[in-house]
């Protein structure tokens, strides 16, 4: 007996409602973008400068007490959140305190830090400071820039690679899917106000890699089938290709998700945001390689005869209504 997530010989029609799928994707991108434009991302200190202090105590965290203890220090904007995690012990109460970057300082000065620790120790006697991170405004500005460059560079490199290995229509389809994934991921982070830090950029690039992986596998099959069925209309070729690779697409997504979900539940709170981004990315990436990349390819059309050079390469458009 075999476990089969997708039964053999599927023949779903993925393109009968292609306008609907593209519409949904476009709408979600607009929502994501609007959320990003209106609320903005909840940037971590990596990107906006400032200091975070992680504390641990056996007493339950009372945010009011923490806030009052630090109020006298006049450090400007302070946010205090309690952290919950199934991996914590019963008497392990963790809080994250974020302090804005101080005027005229780069990283936090030892004096400021000592004052904060003294104030909190006075309020909560057994408090421990398990980690402190501080990033000056100078570096955070550069980090944001480097991160943006990294994402753009990754997408550009991929565009070139696929263009070389396939045709430009494939490259555009793949990149449209990537941009779709990146925007939706940023949108989810801004909508849910999850902390967006350097690790999330790593997750974004991984999503780019994963989504691409999926898209390339489908495209590879499309290329093969275009040679095999010279007379079939493009939408049928695409449909056959997606159906043939569907079992693999689902299998790989499931194994990856199995691994990621165990990391999400058991891996501790430090990397939870990072893992969340990747889980989201795997889901969105799988969807986009089928419904965005392939649909864009269908829309752009593609050179059919791979055996000899086409004099009007790229000039033939498939009949979408066929």
């Amino acid at each position: 007996m075999r476990l089969k997530l997708v039964k053999q010989n599927t023949s779903f029609d993925f393109f009968s409602r292609w306008k609907l799928w593209l519409g949904i994707s476009a709408l979600m991108m607009v929502v994501g973008f609007a959320s990003f434009a209106i609320q903005g991302l909840n940037f971590g200190i990596d990107f906006r400068g400032g200091t975070t202090v992680r504390t641990e105590s056996t007493q339950p965290v009372d945010i009011g007490i923490y806030r009052d203890a630090m109020a006298v220090l006049e450090l400007g904007d302070i946010s205090i959140t309690e952290v919950f995690d199934p991996t914590f012990d019963d008497d392990q109460n963790v809080a994250m305190i974020r302090i804005q970057a101080q005027e005229g300082q780069e990283a936090v000065t030892p004096e400021t830090l000592r004052a904060v620790q003294a104030a909190l120790s006075a309020a909560v006697p057994d408090i421990k400071f398990v980690s402190t991170e501080s990033v000056g405004p100078k570096v955070s500005g550069e980090l944001i820039q480097t991160a943006a460059i990294a994402v753009v560079l990754a997408i550009a490199a991929v565009l070139v690679y696929i263009w070389l290995r396939f045709e430009w229509q494939f490259a555009l389809g793949a990149v449209a899917a990537l941009v779709h994934d990146v925007i939706l991921t940023i949108g989810v982070f801004s909508e849910l106000q999850i902390k967006f830090d350097l690790a999330i950029i790593a997750a974004l690039l991984t999503i780019v890699g994963y989504s691409l992986n999926d898209t390339v596998v489908v495209f590879d099959r499309v290329r093969e089938n275009l040679r095999k069925y010279k007379k079939k209309p493009l939408n049928e070729v695409l449909n056959v290709s997606i159906n043939e690779t569907l079992s693999r697409t689902v299998m790989t997504s499931v194994t990856t998700l199995l691994a990621l979900i165990s990391l999400y539940v058991l891996g501790g709170d430090v990397i939870r945001g990072f893992v969340f981004a990747m889980i989201w990315g795997v889901i969105v990436g799988t969807y986009s390689s089928v419904f965005v990349a392939s649909t864009i390819l269908l829309w752009l059309g593609v050179k059919r005869d791979w055996s000899k050079k086409d004099p009007n390469a790229g000039g033939q458009y498939a009949n979408i209504d066929a």
Binding site: S131, T206, N213
Partner: protein, 561 residues
């Protein structure tokens, strides 16, 4: 048909065994770590130390792990081990100002000698990195310029051929402006950062922590990572403490470590000649606080030497002392060790001098650095600091371990359920894959970070992808009923282009992440990149080998994938 040549089989098997062997030490982390520390400590005792002289606890530590086994470990990043991270920016501009300040007495003395033609000289207020001098007789401006220009010295750089260290220009009818030249600024920045780096390294080494990372980053930044230290504030204090540099008169040299130095004297060991001691007068003539510059240079005979310069008060004391003690040795002492004890050749006025000796170019460069090591040449501004407590690191390791195990088990079970026997083959490959990743990480001395663990978990999920592609393809080929052997062969053959394309594109993103990222993110890029390499290797070669061996033994008429 389904065939793999014998030598290829041996090669594949050997690669796996090698990789796994390299990974084994990580399974006994503390033991191997203690073994490595002990081996290092024994090596420090000198070569050929008789076994009996090695302390018993060192021997016990060493014998915890067989010497013939690989003993490289994966470095644990700060986020896993706990420790402190600092990113400091060296304020290289500080040096320009102090250089200009220090050159004023020399210029003043020079111009004073020509007072008859130049007239009165007056220092005008200016930016800190330049000197503005007004002279009384505008007609003699050219003479004054020529005089000041004689002070210019050639810059020692690879590209700045013929360039001088200072630029002297006239402004208006009666003002001379002296600034550092562009070449000198570049050379000075280079030296300043190098010196700062050296000093930071010296001070951290003095505290003796394990494996600190002290690296130059960009043109004027220094990255400092010290595992196991309590906090970044503590680290800042260590960096902030000044090493003590003094210039002391030499009374005597001796090889007797128990020599009685006498009242007002002290016994100081030599830095690089073991067994040699100097008896020095305790009161220093000049201290490092008076030193403003030291640079590698060459003497009149073209031998490597070190130029140095004092500030005004240091210059006066140094000048007086050298005038009175020509022919006597003079000790340069750094942190209670004699760096060098040159003989005073002549009276050294003006506060600058040259130390000659039997130096190589490298030694003179190091000495210049050491001379300046008394104080940081420029202020350090800390741009970024992170402290991670060891408990948090341990929690992360524990959580990471559990998560990896569970992820691993889930994927193994799922694969076995989905593909049966072939799933088991893929599982063996997956286990080898993880071993290979750790083997490679240890071999290249990479650092494992928390996102790096996430990278491994992600690899566990994605590594089976190549196998899934192949197995799905074999299933398809079986449908067209070409017989199992042919189907397997075609499966591997046809899946290859998809596997390569898919993995190369992911690999490109890993490379970009590595190039652009820093710290933990880089750790993620490394494990992701290595994971891609090993998973392609295991899918294309290892599972294939397993399948082929199985097929040769059983010769099944039909197969079910």
């Amino acid at each position: 048909m389904l065939q793999i040549e014998g030598w290829k089989r041996v090669l594949i098997a050997l690669t796996c065994v090698m990789g796994l062997l390299l990974a084994v030490p990580n399974g006994f982390y503390t033991r191997v770590e203690q073994h490595n520390d002990a081996v290092q400590a024994i090596a420090l005792m000198g070569e050929d130390v008789p076994e009996a002289q090695i302390p018993a606890d060192l021997r016990a530590d060493r014998d915890q792990w067989p010497g013939w086994m690989p003993s490289s470990l994966v470095n644990l990043g700060l986020d896993l081990r706990g420790g402190a991270h600092l990113l400091a920016e060296v304020q290289v501009e500080d040096v320009y100002a102090s250089r200009m300040e220090a050159s004023w007495p020399e210029i003043r003395d020079l111009l004073r000698a020509e007072r008859a033609t130049i007239g009165t000289i007056r220092l005008q207020p200016s930016e800190p990195d330049e000197l503005r001098i007004r002279i009384g007789e505008p007609s003699a401006l050219q003479t004054a310029l020529t005089q000041v220009r004689t002070l210019a010295r050639p810059v020692q750089t690879l590209t700045g051929v013929g360039a001088n260290d200072i630029v002297v220009r006239a402004e208006g009818t009666d003002t001379i402006v002296v600034t550092l030249s562009e070449e000198e600024r570049l050379a000075s920045d280079q030296r300043t950062v190098q010196q700062s780096l050296e000093i930071v390294r010296r001070r951290i080494d003095e505290v003796g922590t394990r494996e600190p990372t002290i690296q130059r980053q960009g043109t004027q930044r220094i990255l400092i990572q010290v595992p196991g230290i309590g906090s970044a504030a503590e680290l800042k204090e260590i960096i902030g403490t000044t090493a003590q540099l003094t210039f002391q008169p030499v009374v005597n040299r001796t090889s007797d470590p128990d020599a009685v130095p006498g009242v007002g004297n002290e016994l100081v060991p030599s830095l690089d000649e073991p067994g040699l001691f100097y008896v020095l007068e305790t009161a220093p003539v000049v201290t490092g606080e008076d030193l403003v510059d030291a640079q590698p240079a060459f003497d009149q005979n073209g031998n490597p030497a070190v130029n140095f310069r004092f500030n005004t008060s240091g210059a006066r004391r140094f000048g007086d002392y050298t005038a009175e003690n020509i022919g006597s040795p003079f000790a340069i002492v750094l942190d209670n060790e004699v760096v060098s004890a040159p003989v005073i050749q002549s009276h050294i006025p003006g506060g600058s001098g040259i130390i000659t000796g039997n130096f190589t170019v490298e030694e003179s460069t190091n000495l210049a650095v050491l001379l300046r090591a008394g104080a940081l040449p420029a202020e350090l501004i800390f741009l970024e600091e992170r402290t991670i407590g060891p408990e948090l690191g341990q929690d992360s390791i524990d959580a990471g371990k559990v998560a990896t195990m569970v992820a691993f088990a889930a994927v193994l079970v799922f694969m076995a359920l989905s593909y049966g026997l072939f799933g088991l083959f893929a599982n063996v490959a997956l286990i080898i894959n993880i071993g290979l990743i750790f083997g490679l990480l240890s071999m290249i001395g990479a650092t494992l970070t928390l996102p790096g663990i996430a990278g491994i978990v992600l690899t566990v999920g994605m590594a089976v992808d190549a196998n899934v592609l192949i197995f799905e393809r074999i299933r398809e080929e079986l449908k067209t009923s070409k017989g199992p052997a042919r189907a397997i062969e075609l499966g591997y053959e046809k899946a290859l282009s998809a596997i390569l394309d898919a993995n190369i594109t992911t690999f490109i993103t890993a490379v970009i992440l590595f190039a652009m990222g820093s710290g933990p993110v880089r750790g993620f890029a490394i494990t992701l990149g290595l994971g891609i390499l090993t998973s392609v290797f295991t899918a294309i070669f290892v599972t294939r080998l397993l399948v082929v061996i199985w097929f040769e033994r059983r010769r099944p008429k039909t197969i079910e994938v």
